[in-house]
Symmetry: C2
Subunit: 496 residues, 2 copies
């Protein structure tokens, strides 16, 4: 055989690709816990789980990316061996449309489904913006009734409360794309093509960011953005811009007042009137079920940028203030959104299949819970059984086994056991509640030392009198036979 050792190869770089990251320990379990809570509510509402593959054909995904304004919008795509193009899914809605079209004969109608998983965006990464992130969606496919939209808004409120957002700290805002369409029909008649509609949509979607005057400028002559660059406007007349702005500002003191304002805005447009009536029904259904306007409210300023929405659109916003990276207070903002999209399945089948659904921004919601201190506590580490005498590993394994059998999370120190300090430092790093130590003297006497590491840390941190120290010893010698009971008691004291 020829020698295989040749020139030393370059070492690979140990790094994630740009825009990707790793999640460790409690970051993983907190998200899993939250997703379990959310899907529990979805389940309670009769939604069934669906897990589609991460990879779809590019033709099935279509061109429904939400961020058409960004230069790097897109998917991660490649060619299969048979030359066909595949891509990572960019959301959970496009795969649902494909799944429903593919399996519709075997699925109930309507089909309520939920889905959880990562999605991928081929965008320029930025601070806090990753190219892989989680979504957690619920959709109802196959029914035109706005009862389905109302149900999802109510479910969204329940989800937020279930994960720990208090009533009063969130609001689900509802609007209807038909109202905007009716208004545009009134303004432009049949000359309003898709391009103009999309332009108006994207512009009014910036209302939260650029404010009333910003939207007015962008609808009309254009404006300078923060960087000083000039952004072309849509060139609408000042009257046309006024009408659109009056729509955005049509929210009244009550849902009834808002509905009345909207009726005025849409005038004689049939589609507009339909939209207003749908909003009225949603508000009535929500209120009848106990979701008053403090939780679900009609708000015409909600637009949702996605072009594919055809009816009601909704958004869950967290209304409490957080401090941003520059120390300024600001509202937390949107954590979930969705709406009705009646044409996504039709792409495949040619038949109209009405659908509505919501997507929760899992990472943003987690960040919100952290800001409120509502995430589950830092996961407790395992009890660490140290190795005082390296010839007696079997004895220490025995202790670990007893603890585990009793339901106590426990592990043997498997590093180099040359000194105890290193082992205790490891136990601290593992967030261990208790360390177990047994040297030759203890063995001979049938004893074991157990060390309360949480208390040890507190004692070291606080100024304590000698009496307190003695009353609460961080380390104690116990009978070997009492190991499990005493460790358990120590953990309970530490968690009390």
């Amino acid at each position: 055989m020829a020698k295989t050792k040749q020139k030393k190869p370059q070492r690979p770089r140990a790094a994630t690709p740009r825009g990707f990251r790793d999640y460790f320990g409690a970051e993983v379990t907190r998200r899993a816990d939250m997703l379990r809570t959310i899907t529990g509510i979805y389940h309670q509402y009769g939604f069934d789980p669906l897990e589609s593959s991460a990879v779809e054909t590019v033709e099935a995904l279509g061109k429904f990316l939400p961020d058409v304004d960004r230069p790097n919008e897109g998917v991660f795509a490649w060619q299969d061996e048979d030359e066909s193009w595949m891509a990572l899914r960019y959301d959970l809605t496009a795969p649902l449309a494909r799944v429903y079209a593919q399996h519709r004969n075997d699925l109930p109608t309507p089909y309520r489904r939920y889905a959880v998983g990562p999605v991928w965006r081929n965008e320029k990464p930025g601070p806090g913006r990753f190219r892989q992130f989680y979504q957690c969606d619920a959709d109802t496919v196959g029914t035109p009734t706005v009862a389905a939209d109302a149900e999802i808004c109510a479910m969204l409120a329940d989800v937020l409360e279930a994960v720990g957002i208090a009533r009063g700290d969130y609001i689900v805002r509802v609007n209807n794309r038909k109202v905007l369409n009716g208004l545009l029909d009134n303004l432009f008649g049949s000359e309003a093509g898709e391009g103009l509609r999309d332009g108006v949509l994207r512009t009014v979607d910036k209302f939260d960011k650029v404010g009333e005057q910003g939207v007015r400028d962008l609808l009309g002559p254009g404006r300078k953005d923060a960087s000083g660059a000039f952004i072309d406007g849509l060139g609408l007349s000042s009257h046309q811009a006024d009408v659109i702005i009056s729509f955005l500002l049509a929210r009244g003191e009550s849902n009834a007042a808002t509905i009345s304002n909207l009726r005025e805005v849409v005038g004689t447009s049939g589609i507009g009137a339909d939209g207003v009536s749908e909003l009225e029904q949603i508000a009535e259904m929500a209120e009848a079920q106990g979701y008053g306007p403090d939780r679900i409210v009609i708000d015409p300023s909600v637009v949702r940028g996605l072009g594919y929405y055809t009816g009601p659109v909704y958004e869950a916003e967290l209304t409490f203030e957080i401090t941003d990276e520059k120390g300024r207070p600001r509202q937390f903002g949107s954590v979930a959104g969705g709406g009705r999209y009646d044409d996504l399945v039709k792409r495949f089948t040619g038949q109209e299949v009405p659908a509505t659904g919501v997507s929760i921004g899992v990472d943003r919601l987690l960040a919100a819970l952290e800001a409120k201190g509502r995430t589950s506590a830092e996961a407790q580490g395992p009890v660490v059984v140290t190795v005082m005498d390296r010839d007696r590993v079997a004895d220490y394994q025995q202790m670990v086994g007893e603890l585990r059998a009793a339901g106590v999370r426990a592990e043997l120190y498997l590093g180099n056991p040359k000194d105890m300090g290193r082992q205790l430092k490891y136990a601290d790093q593992r967030n261990a509640p208790v360390a177990v130590i047994q040297g030759g003297d203890e063995l001979a006497a049938g004893k074991v030392q157990i060390k309360d590491l949480a208390l040890g840390a507190r004692l070291a941190a606080d100024i304590q009198t000698n009496e307190e120290w003695k009353a609460q010893p961080a380390q104690m010698e116990i009978e070997r036979a009492d190991l499990v009971a005493q460790v358990r008691a120590m953990i309970q004291r530490a968690n009390a």
Copy 2:
């Protein structure tokens, strides 16, 4: 605006890409339940969760694909905008090596971690072979002690029992790559290059498939495979093949007998003797913790094809028989495997970082549990509240709300309510335990009809006397005020 309607575009095909599939309902929850049980055991043993991104740089992934024999082995890869190559991970071990190299200063040593998630293989898909599947791994990085290997074997046994594989229905078989290496040193001396070693490894890994004579032929002159094609052999002498076969067959009546046989096989090889001694320690540790050879056994026929293993290798096999697709009984076979790989992190850092770990084939294990009837029961559908009078949707929503508030999974029928037969058919398709019906007469009388759909199906299927039918009515009229209590009672009866 120009007209946008032009020639009707071709409709996209509603299909997953070749080799991918969707998972529905109980398929999703069963897997989630099983993974929760497995990671619960991992947690109990002190392992911490890690979730790395699905996408890695190609240079970080390296060339460690397990299936070097297959023509289409490989990863799904593409170029980023900056020309660098990215790919979907093909397992959870390569990402762990990258993560440990990248974050080693912040991680405890040793680092016990578990990971769960899909991996992707760019292979030719086949029946039952998909290009995306789940793995669930546990690894200990940063310690050379075989206590770490023994711990993972014990944990594997605990995992199998926790998910529902009975003791006696599985065996964890352990071998050591060093024994084989020592034997090859003896046989070939320094002339045994990587190529020959890998060839022997891949050949003996086929032992389960082609049997003793098959391996002997492949080590020597070659053989015809099932399709009649001639497979070149490695060209070893018959004596050399004998020695290797004697190694594969060295398993004795007890672990002690196997150890003694292996000592003979490795002769004077130092590395071989190390390997045998490690196996002896693993067997001793396992037995001391109560894992006798009925659960963890030394078995030299376990090889594990992966070239990167450097020490102990282990495999969990299910020993009960199933009936294969041709109706023949066969053993279920391997559901998990792993071993020690001391060089994977070194690729990045240049420093030796010993590591060992196991990967569970989640989908195979699920299939095994299904074959044994040990999966959780088919998920119960929601109570379906039907719509008899479409003007009273709010009333029906009220009923759904009451049921949900009481913890009962419930939904409103949202399809076209034109006839009750259609609604009850939907409820059946949803696997609903109970349907709720309220027409005008019931409303006037303050009553509601509830229908036991499970019982109704049984009554329809069985031949029953009229008396039985009357004694167990599948439908009953109740007071509207008792809705929640009566529905609950009906579900309990149905589940009893």
